[in-house]
């Protein structure tokens, strides 16, 4: 095991897949000479050349569409969008084409395209550069959605994404790029899609947490154990499509209580979706309604004190868990708790 930053784990995945398969190539804004806005592709242009690592103009819809066409013709394009917010410019190609071509044309052609991009608040980038859009992509049949929280998953899931035959929306997190984690040394260590990571075992409550929130939830679980004598099981689904609902349901059947945590908006969100699936599949096993902790239902504000309370932190998760267990929540956490209330 080596300890790598999340960014370097992604870089290793790209390097290994570029080396393994001639059909794999990268496209994106500033990924070559500049090395990537977040330095994920640093050094790859020098190593693999202009044919395999392509700087593009700022034309998001078109570079995704070029990826779709190249994938239809048998290549394995990996397109980087500088942030997930810019994917909105490419929604036509992502939804109408990448997601639907395999179905729309009766299965005659496949679109093995990977679209990588980071999301997330915390850097005072305001309402056009800070959002979390897992739910937008999860909504669309035909797309797979991966959202790794750890360096090991970043590497293992990206390698799987590149080898998958479906279009994959690969959602990274800006705040995780510098976070270190243990990563297996073996090149063939893949992380299977549709298999959740049980980040922490517990018996009193299940916390399902997505992307960066998986790490926040692990911290909350530690606090719950040390300060409140609550044993929380933390599940990071890792991929939202396919979703390892079985692991979530098994956990809920054991704990009978569940809190779902996401950084994105509450209405029509990932947590809403997972809560609905749990209610449909395991209603009789629940001792309390599934509770959600999500980002505030507002565009992300710039001002630091406002931004800080507009996305979930450890206290909101602790508070939600205590409430779902029927224990009093600490007043300070309630004051900043966000979500659908």
């Amino acid at each position: 095991m080596a300890e790598l930053r999340y960014r370097d784990a992604l870089n290793a995945a790209l390097r290994e897949e570029l080396s393994r398969d001639e059909r794999v190539f990268l496209m994106g804004e500033d990924i070559g000479v500049f090395g990537g806005a977040f330095k994920v592709t640093d050094g790859l242009l020098e190593e693999f050349g202009e044919k395999r690592v392509r700087d593009t103009p700022i034309s998001e819809n078109t570079i995704i569409g070029i990826g779709v066409g190249a994938a239809m013709a048998g290549l394995r394009p990996v397109v980087e969008l500088m942030t997930i917010n810019f994917a909105l410019l490419a929604f036509d190609q992502i939804v109408n084409h990448a997601a639907h071509i395999h179905y729309m044309f009766g299965g005659q052609v496949r679109v093995p395209l990977v679209v990588r991009m980071p999301q997330g608040a915390g850097h005072q980038l305001g309402p056009t550069h800070s959002h979390c859009f897992e739910a937008l992509f999860l909504h669309i049949p035909g797309l797979l959605v991966a959202a790794p929280a750890t360096a090991a998953d970043a590497k293992g899931l990206l390698k799987t994404a590149i080898r998958d035959e479906n279009p994959v929306i690969f959602i990274e997190h800006e705040s995780l790029y510098g976070v270190r984690g243990e990563v297996p040394d073996e090149e063939e260590t893949l992380v299977e899609f549709g298999r959740a990571r049980i980040a922490r075992e517990g018996s009193d409550v299940t916390i399902v947490a997505v992307s960066r929130m998986a790490l926040t939830a692990e911290r909350a679980a530690k606090t719950l154990a040390t300060s409140h004598d609550v044993s929380a099981e933390v599940i990071d689904p890792r991929t939202l499509r396919p979703l390892d609902l079985d692991s979530i349901l098994s956990s809920v059947r054991k704990t009978n209580r569940c809190v779902v945590v996401e950084e994105g908006w509450p209405h029509g969100g990932v947590a809403a979706n997972i809560a609905a699936l749990i209610s449909e599949q395991a209603f009789d096993d629940l001792d309390a309604p599934v509770r959600r902790v999500s980002g505030a239902d507002v565009p992300m504000p710039y001002s630091k004190p406002l931004e800080d309370i507009a996305y979930p932190h450890e206290p909101q998760i602790v508070s939600a868990v205590l409430e779902t267990l029927g224990l009093a929540a600490p007043a300070t956490a309630t004051a900043t708790q966000t979500g659908a209330r």
Partner: protein
């Protein structure tokens, strides 16, 4: 544009010339019949016909090699036919049947034939341009000399993807012939009311894409100009823009009352109908005689009759196939790819399969329940 004097033109080999006329006639008769079938409610959704644009389709596609890519728009029946997709499968697609060339999933706007390198009809105006560039990139990446011909309408030249894709194709030197089929209207808005520059071949100049123009009502001129464009793109591996000037005789779709143009204007263009014009030319040049001309038309009608018969007989896709081809499924994965609210295959009580859960029991029963409910809605 080349001269249109009918007796002094250089014709291709007689067999080729005959095939062009046959294919243009087939497209015409197919489209007419598709319109009839639409009126008889055999075809649903939108139906965009290519009547009037047959020379543009045949003249351009015949300038391609078999291995080159062709990609078009929501007006795509003719492009499938010209590439050799059997009319049976195109008609079956219009009928929403299992034997349709897109398995009944796409309909009129989304024809596809991967084996014949017809890479699709696309419902979003301008949506196919980036895909064309991607196909061309793949050709270069793999070291072939294939070319991609990308057709789109005058309306698409105002989309963001037009500017973005032409810039990128010129920048990366991608072998694409962008062919703007200028049929004078973006739906019901005439060219001069939707484009500041109406000389469409010039619209790529500032993006580094040189322009050419052909008379899209003339199959010989279309073929000649496209041959030149394709040869240049194949050799230089860099895009060109060709404007094919044509006219759609019918409305934008079957739902178009055509209040934006005069009957006189349509009649004027109909005088230049590309099919009779080319037929007369072949007769005048002795390639065919009047009897053979009539036979070509009769054979096209027979072919379309057979296509309708085939489509009628083809089954609808089964309810069980609803979820087919949403994903390329990994059989080893235990995750949920789809939330199936109408999976007819299993009883919910017996659910062990992780991919799905079911509210329905039996495919035919589901279909019947829905049919009954729709009938009740219509009566209400």
């Amino acid at each position: 544009m080349a001269s249109s004097s009918e007796t002094t033109r250089d014709l291709p080999e007689p067999a080729l010339a005959r095939e062009w006329l046959e294919t243009m006639t087939l497209i015409r008769r197919f489209e007419e019949r598709a319109g009839e079938m639409y009126a008889r409610a055999k075809v649903g959704g939108f139906l965009h016909l290519s009547i009037g644009e047959e020379a543009t389709i045949v003249g351009s596609a015949r300038a391609l090699r078999e291995h080159d890519y062709l990609i078009s728009t929501y007006r795509s029946h003719g492009h499938a036919l010209v590439r050799g997709t059997p009319p049976e499968n195109v008609m079956a697609e219009l009928f929403g049947r299992a034997d349709g060339c897109s398995g009944g999933r796409g309909g009129s706007m989304h024809m596809f034939d991967a084996a014949r390198r017809f890479m699709g009809g696309y419902g979003i105006v301008g949506g196919n341009l980036p895909i064309a560039a991607g196909l061309a990139l793949a050709s270069d990446y793999e070291g072939t000399d294939d070319v991609t011909l990308c057709t789109f309408g005058d309306g698409a030249s105002n989309q963001g993807t037009f500017g973005e894709t032409l810039n990128l194709a010129a920048l990366w030197k991608l072998p694409v012939v962008f062919m703007v089929t200028n049929n004078q209207f973006g739906m019901g808005t005439s060219l001069s009311r939707h484009s500041a520059v109406t000389d469409l071949q010039r619209k790529g100049e500032s993006l580094g894409v040189p322009g050419m123009r052909c008379d899209g009502m003339d199959v010989l001129d279309t073929y000649a100009v496209l041959c030149e464009a394709i040869a240049r793109v194949r050799e230089e591996r860099s895009p060109v823009l060709v404007e094919a000037v044509t006219y759609r005789f019918r409305g934008h779709s079957m739902a178009d009352p055509e209040q934006y143009r005069s009957k006189e204007e349509v009649a004027h263009w109909r005088e230049r109908d590309p099919i009779p014009a080319f037929g007369r030319l072949l007769v005048a040049d002795g390639v065919i005689d009047e009897d053979q001309l009539a036979q070509i038309d009769a054979r096209a009608i027979e072919r379309v009759d057979a296509a309708v018969e085939f489509a009628e007989a083809s089954p609808f896709p089964t309810p069980e196939s609803l979820y087919d081809d949403v994903y390329v499924l990994d059989p080893s994965s235990s995750g949920w790819y789809s939330v199936r609210t109408t999976d007819p295959r299993r009883d919910a009580e017996e659910s062990t399969e992780p991919l799905a859960f079911s509210q329905a029991r039996d495919g035919d029963e589901v279909q019947q329940q829905i049919t009954d409910a729709l009938a009740r809605e219509e009566r209400a």
